[in-house]
Assembly symmetry: C2
Homo-oligomer: 287 residues x 2
Amino acid sequence: MVEYDTVAIVGVGLIGGSIGLALRERKLAQKIIGIGRRQQSLDVAREVGAIDHGVTNLANGVSQAQLVIVTTPVDTIAERVVQASAACPAGALITDAGSTKAAIVAAVDAGLASRRSGPRFVGSHPLAGDHRTGPEHARGDLFDGRVVVVTPTEHTRPAAITEVSGFWQALGANVRTMKPAEHDAALAITSHLPHIAAVALAAATPTELLPLTAGGWRDTTRVAAADPELWQAIFTANREHVLEAIDLLDQSLASLRESLEQGDNETLRSILETAAKRKRERDALGD
Amino acid sequence: MVEYDTVAIVGVGLIGGSIGLALRERKLAQKIIGIGRRQQSLDVAREVGAIDHGVTNLANGVSQAQLVIVTTPVDTIAERVVQASAACPAGALITDAGSTKAAIVAAVDAGLASRRSGPRFVGSHPLAGDHRTGPEHARGDLFDGRVVVVTPTEHTRPAAITEVSGFWQALGANVRTMKPAEHDAALAITSHLPHIAAVALAAATPTELLPLTAGGWRDTTRVAAADPELWQAIFTANREHVLEAIDLLDQSLASLRESLEQGDNETLRSILETAAKRKRERDALGD
C-alpha cells in the first residue's frame, strides 16, 4: 500500500476534495495540504475533512509534498503543474485530474523541457464526477470501482507510471493506460458528446414546455446543469475530437430522422435495437 | 373522492399495474379486473396486488366496469377502446394512457361515430413511467405529484372531462387539459425528443469504447434501454411532430458545433448557459 507523508491538492473542488477524503479515509497520507485561490473553499474543504491545511500560495503549499495532484479546470492545469514543479521537492510525483489530456501533457512537456531532472509528471483522468461542484459535495468513495485513465508519453519513466497507477488504485480505482491523443479521441465520444447532446436538448426546449417534461427529459439533460465555464474549457481543449464526435451524433440522428420520415420501420427498429443493446453491454461491465 | 365498484385495466404492464396498485392503496375500487393477452403477466399483476382478477377476454373483462383504462402500446389503443366500448356498460367511462393522442383520439372518434349514446371516451397521458416494463415494476405512487394530460375534443361532454380528471387526481396527479394535436406537438419536444437524443447517442457509441463511459453517458442514454417496439410505435404515431422536434435539436447541435469550430466563445458560452438555465427552471417547478 502506498503511503505519503505529505500530499498537496491544487484545487479543492469536488474532485480535489474527494481525493483528500479518500486519502484520509484510507489512511494513505500523514498530511494533506489544499491549495486554492479562495479561502472560503479551503475552509469548506477543511470542515468536511478533505484537507488538513489550506493555503492560497501554491509554492508554499507544495514545498514538502511527495505527491501533487492538480485538479483545477483544464485550461489552468498545465500552468499549475509547471508552477508546482518549480516549488516541490525534486523527487516528487505530479499528476492531474483533467478531462482532456493531449494539450495539457504537451504544454507541461514544453514547460519542463529545460530540466533534465526534478519532479516527474504523468497525466491522469478519473472517470468520476458529478454535475455538482465544490468541496461540500466531495465523497471519499468517488473513485471506488471507477476507471482512471493514466496517459504517459514516450518521455515518461516506467517507475512514474507505476507510482501514479498505485496512487489511484489505492483510492479504489481501476487504472487504464492510454496515449494522450487516444484518450482525447475516446473521451470526446464517451464523455464530451453526452454533454453536447444534453446541452443541445436542454437549450432547444422552450421554457413554456418545461412543465410537460418528465423523467426522460430530466435524465437525458442531467449533465447540462454542470458549470458552463468548466465545459467550455473542456470542449475548447479537445476541439477537433469533439467536432468529429458531433459529426458521429449527427449521422446517427440523420439515420433516425430519415428512417422515420421514409416509414422505413426496419432501419428505425434496427437503430432502436442497437441503442438498447449498447445499454445492456454497458450494464454488463458493472459500475 | 371518486369510488368505483369495478374498474377494468386493459394491459397490465408498468402503467396498468401501477394504476391498479394506486387504486387499491387508495381504496378507490371494490374490484379491479386486469385484461391481457398473456396469462403470465396477469398472474404477476395479481401477485403484486395490482388486480383482483385477470382475464384474457376483453369483452368479458370490461362487462361490469364503470371505468376502463386502456394502457396497451399506442398502436393498439384505439382498437381496444372501440372493442371495450362495445362490451362495457353504457354509462361507463373509457380512457387510455398513450404517449400520443391525436391519432388515437381520431381513430376512436371514427370507430364510435355510428353511436349516439353509450360509453364515453376521453384520452389521457400520464407523464410518468420508467424504462423498465412489466407489472413487476409497478408502483402505487407512480402518478403521485406527476402531470397527466387529458385531451378532450369538441365532442367530449364536460361531465366526462370532470370525471376522468377526478380519476387521475384521485391517484395523486395534477391534471392539465390540452387539445390532442397541441399535446402531440409539445410532447414531441419534451418526451419523444429526449428519447431520440438518447438513442442516437447510444447507437453512435462503439462497443469497444463502452468501458470509458461514466455517469454522463449513463444518464444521457438512460431511456435508450426502453422497449424498441413501444418507442417505434410512438415515433410513428407522432411522426410529423417528431420530425420537427429533431430539426429543433439539429439546429441546437449545429449552433454548438459552429461556435466551437469558429472559436466563438461568446456563443458557445451562451448556449451552455441557456441549457443550465433550463435545468434550473425545470428544477424550480418541482417533481
